[in-house]
């Protein structure tokens, strides 16, 4: 079988103006910085990014916002990146806010073939605007819709050449969930190992979900 391990240049044909991307990370911890740099180098336009937060101006997804690659972001938090607020106010960045727990369940729902999420979070707030509400067992829930993307960009601490991935510490965050919800999945490996080097009991993302692996720069 063809190896999934490729150079960054081989990922370029997957990256296109106007596409939707899911990117892992929480305030930059667990974000594939090499793939972020590639997008900046290619100077892609009009991207829709689905991610937990827009990080800091000089880190992770924050760099894409500051560089003007992003048309729309679907996220839970933009407060740590002043560029996100500034661009939103000047009308050059569309921001769709979703509560963090809802956001991750929407991604999981898309990746798990579920029609949506029934959550109490956001009931009685602005978050319910324009959404269906349903009462079940006497309690109100919002129906939050699944979120997919053309491409998921995952960071992992250790990856074998089949794509099995292991995340250290709090780098895990959104990464294993977005790996379920991208039409294609690219993993940036901090460390690349042979198949069999990660115990099947502690693999966190199955290689069958992964299309391409790049070795991150040190």
């Amino acid at each position: 079988m063809m190896s999934k391990v490729v150079d960054y240049s081989a990922v370029k044909p997957l990256l296109k103006d106007g596409m939707s991307l899911m990117i892992g990370g929480f305030l930059g911890c667990g974000t594939p910085e090499g793939l972020i740099s590639l997008i900046i180098e290619m100077d892609l336009k009009d991207l829709t990014i689905i991610c937990n937060d827009t990080s800091f101006v000089d880190k992770g997804i924050g760099r894409l916002v500051a560089n003007g690659n992003v048309k729309k972001v679907i996220t839970s938090h933009i407060g740590t990146n002043p560029e996100s607020g500034r661009r939103m106010n000047e009308g050059t960045l569309e921001v769709e806010l979703s509560p963090q727990g809802t956001l991750i369940e929407r991604i999981r729902a898309a990746g798990s073939g579920l029609g949506g999420v029934l959550t109490p979070t956001g009931v009685g707030t602005m978050v319910e605007d324009g959404k269906q509400k349903i009462q079940l067992n006497g309690k109100d829930y919002l129906i939050e819709m699944p979120l997919k993307a053309d491409l998921a960009l995952v960071f992992a601490s250790t990856v074998d050449s089949f794509g099995n991935a292991y995340y250290k510490g709090t780098t895990r965050n959104f990464n294993p969930i977005i790996a379920l919800a991208g039409d294609k999945v690219v993993v940036e490996a901090e460390e690349l190992v042979e198949v069999g080097k990660i115990d099947p009991e502690v693999v966190m993302t199955p290689g069958v979900l992964v299309d391409y692996i790049v070795k991150g720069e040190d």
């Binding site: 079988m1 999981r108 898309a110 990746g111 798990s112 073939g113 579920l114 074998d160 089949f162 099995n164 379920l180 198949v195 069999g196 099947p200 009991e201 693999v203 199955p206 290689g207 069958v208 979900l209």
Partner: protein
């Protein structure tokens, strides 16, 4: 065409195995579908899922080398390949329902020309339950029914399933010892037949209205 059950199963498993493509994630049901693993062509590498909790399922362990912590969806001891992963049932069915399983192969009590499948209950007689079958048939990209063409003379490939359904309109292909049928918008198309049978015999043993493909081939097994 008269073949014993063992030969029939071998024909079916061999032909189903030819449907598999490099890199696919495949779920094989209990019984005959499990036999498909024995006939996967050498140049094809697939990853097998077992819905109780792993991808990368390997062969049956040698006697005395069984690990009580590693079983398949039939409760039998198996092994895991070095590219495999264990997981919980929630992730297992995220893979299944989420369309990450490329091919699922299952048996059937009945299948019909609209792609309906019945394989989990005979009301009043047998109620094993659906297990993971409903999710597999609903979620997998390609659903192959692998079964003997008839059951003790009863026709199993129907115009319309009479038993309660496992899923509606999800079956893509039916492989029996007599031939290969594909569910299309126009109906059930006979694409291949076994060299030792005839179109007339297949039609006679099939309740469904069969459309005979204009490029009908002999099963290459």
């Amino acid at each position: 065409m008269a073949v014993d059950s063992k030969t029939a199963k071998k024909i079916i498993a061999k032909r189903v195995a030819m449907e598999l493509e490099n890199g696919q994630l495949v779920n094989l049901g209990i019984g005959l579908p499990t036999m498909v693993a024995n006939y996967i062509p050498e140049n094809i590498e697939v990853t097998l899922q077992s819905e109780n909790g792993m991808v990368g399922m390997g062969p049956t362990p040698e006697e005395g080398k069984e690990d009580k912590n590693i079983t398949n969806a039939g409760g039998q001891y198996v092994t895991i390949n070095k590219n495999g992963m264990f997981f919980d049932t929630a992730l297992s069915f995220s893979l299944i329902r989420g369309g990450h399983v490329d091919v699922t192969v299952l048996g059937a009590l009945e299948v019909d020309q609209e792609g309906n499948l019945s394989n989990w209950i005979i009301p009043g007689k047998l109620v094993p339950g659906m297990g993971g079958a409903m999710d597999l048939v609903t979620g997998a990209k390609k659903v192959i029914v692998a079964m003997q063409h008839t059951a003790k003379g009863d026709l199993k490939i129907k115009k319309k399933c009479e038993l309660p359904l496992t899923a509606k309109g999800q079956v893509d292909m039916v492989v029996t010892e007599l031939g290969v049928m594909v569910v299309t918008e126009k109906g059930l198309v006979l694409k291949e037949i076994h060299k030792d049978t005839t179109v007339e015999e297949v039609i006679q043993l099939t309740d469904a209205e069969l459309i005979i493909d204009e490029n009908l081939k002999v099963m290459d097994i």
